[in-house]
């Protein structure tokens, strides 16, 4: 730009393009955003680790090695080990049926699959108590046959299944819909069986979406508190998952120990976020590559 620019009209010049705020407004907004995210995200996260280590590393390790903590960690892994595969299987089936076929009531089915998201976790626990608890529909029969579901591992698994029910399906349905049907049809015309087609054509093209759903499902399965709390019975060392164990320690005023176990869960959250970001990045890159790969075909020269 020719000539001298006085300080007074510098801000007008910066905002002149018409789609930009003045630098002052811009940095004010960035500041507001930064403070808000710091108070609600960064500080709570940092605080978990600070509180966990407030009494030193020895106390930290001791809290994690304590028998009840170890039992809680094992139970949490077991629950995730049950729920994630089951809901993944369901998610793949539901996505295949919804994405690759046309039928009446499709949008209703999708709404029903999402339903557990709008149910309070406490209510999710309650409905299983009403099914399998002593006062429940099947309670007397289960009691007579000495089968324990509520206040035992099966109840915890069921409640967790409920709250993590939609994760894989809802991530996978749009991805599968986007890939369309042509690839599968092509495979079939080449003589592939349905199973081969699914395994070698469908699955590879939706793998990132599937992984994404699995990761989110796993995070929720390991971290669920409300639903599990209602059905668990809170028996230390037997039916306490990690989040429940955190609560127990916290209520017993063992703050450092509670935060020690909590720090493992926070770590899980960070790993989940990291993987999620990585997957999004990979997906975007593959998309970009596919676009670039397609370009020469449309423009032969």
């Amino acid at each position: 730009m020719a000539g001298y620019v006085s300080k007074k009209n510098q801000s007008t010049i910066q905002s002149r393009r018409g789609t930009e705020e003045s630098p002052r407004a811009k940095w004010l907004l960035i500041g507001v955003c930064g403070v808000f995210l710091a108070v609600f995200l960064l500080l709570p996260l940092a605080n978990v680790f600070a509180q966990a280590l407030v009494k030193g590393l020895d106390v930290y390790w001791a809290a994690l090695r304590e028998a009840d903590s170890v039992a809680a960690i094992k139970l949490t892994l077991l629950i995730a080990g049950i729920c994630v595969p089951l809901n993944t299987l369901f998610g793949v089936c539901a996505a295949w049926a919804v994405a690759k076929f046309e039928f009446r009531g499709k949008s209703l089915l999708i709404t029903l699959i999402d339903l557990p998201f709008s149910v309070s976790p406490v209510v999710a626990g309650l409905i299983y108590v009403l099914m399998f608890g002593l006062q429940g529909y099947l309670g007397p029969w289960l009691d007579a046959h000495d089968i324990k579901i509520i206040f035992a591992v099966p109840g915890i698994a069921l409640a967790t299944l409920f709250v993590t029910f939609p994760f894989v399906a809802r991530e996978l349905i749009p991805v599968m819909q986007a890939t369309g049907r042509e690839q599968e049809e092509a495979a079939l015309t080449l003589g592939a069986s349905g199973w081969t087609t699914f395994w070698h054509v469908t699955l590879p093209s939706v793998k990132w979406g599937l992984l994404y759903g699995v990761i989110l499902c796993n995070a929720r399965a390991m971290g669920e508190f409300g639903a599990v709390s209602v059905v668990s019975g809170h028996i230390a060392g037997v039916t306490n998952t990690m989040p429940l164990h955190v609560e127990k320690l916290y209520n017993e005023y063992q703050g450092a120990a509670a935060f020690a176990v909590a720090s493992l869960l926070a770590l899980l959250a960070l790993v989940t976020l990291g993987l999620k970001t990585l997957l999004e990045w990979k997906q975007a890159r593959e998309h970009a590559l596919a676009q670039r790969g397609a370009a020469p075909e449309t423009n032969p020269s």
Binding site: T19, L29, V48, F103, A262
Partner: protein, 274 residues
């Protein structure tokens, strides 16, 4: 649910059958069981259980705090989404990824760390409590926890809308002489409003049912800082099944109504898309 036209792909019967079976076993039958139990109660009894003073106080707190938290998120979430989409600054990608943190962090952990932060000796509490702002063991604590829980909804709903927003429209307003603030409030904001409302409703719906994070920070005094989901748990622990079921049904019906509202809103929002 019949197949409408011929489709050469295999596996529809199997996958559809399994989907419906699993959906019924895990979700539909248990929920139906809850509603069936309500019919054991007389109408008068249901009404009494649903509207006693303690329950009313709990609804008031749950809905009130959820509404305030969702409003806070609507305002700040819009700012966050705007900043993350429009500006570049150091640490942007980190903050962008961090927005999903409340989705990933177990609620119990959120509860204890927020409670600890705002307690009198916590990192924030030591400055705020002397000013009379008590975040822990109060109703304000409920709002804080619910704000944390709902934070990603508005941001994540708004981000794609903002990314697809044509800057040409803003340029058009500028060529017609509109200032930046005017352009934002008369052109940009009305276009974003449906997405902001949807994000608000999603955050609100999530907050209504939230339990884990709130009970650690709320203080849980009956009639004062006791949320509705907690009251369900208390009723259940008292073996007052009728009370628990009644509250659960009220909460569930409200959630379903909200779900329908959100769906209608999204349909309304698509009115502006071409």
């Amino acid at each position: 649910m019949a197949v409408k036209r011929f489709n050469p792909l295999p596996g529809f019967g199997l996958t559809m059958g399994y989907t419906i079976l699993y959906l019924c076993v895990i979700v539909l039958i248990p929920i139906a069981g809850l509603f069936l139990r309500v019919f054991d109660l007389s109408w008068a009894e249901f009404w009494r259980l649903a509207t006693n003073d303690r329950a009313l106080a709990a609804y008031k707190l749950t809905f009130g705090a959820s509404c305030i938290a969702a409003l806070v998120n609507a305002v700040f979430g819009t700012v966050v989404a705007w900043v993350l989409v429009r500006y570049s600054f150091p640490g942007k990608r980190f903050f962008d990824a961090l927005v999903d943190f409340p989705f990933a962090l177990p609620t119990a952990v959120a509860g204890i760390t927020l409670s600890n932060l705002f307690a009198a000796n916590g990192w924030l509490g030591r400055f705020l409590v002397p000013l009379g702002i008590e975040g822990a063991f109060t109703r304000l604590g409920v709002v804080i926890a619910l704000t944390f829980i709902g934070l990603p909804f508005v941001v994540r709903t708004l981000q794609p809308v903002l990314e697809n927003f044509e800057t040409e429209v803003e340029e058009a307003a500028a060529t017609l002489g509109a200032g930046r603030a005017r352009t934002f409030f008369t052109i940009v904001a009305p276009t974003l409003l449906p997405a902001i409302l949807t994000g608000f409703a999603l955050a609100f719906a999530r907050a209504i049912g939230e339990y884990g994070s709130v009970i650690f920070i709320a203080g849980n005094k009956p009639y004062h800082s006791e949320i509705a989901p907690l009251l369900i748990v208390i009723r259940l622990e008292e073996y007052d099944y009728a009370g628990a079921i009644t509250l659960a049904v009220v909460l569930l019906l409200f959630s379903f109504a909200l779900l329908i509202t959100i769906n209608l809103m999204e349909r309304w929002a698509s009115r502006f898309q071409n």
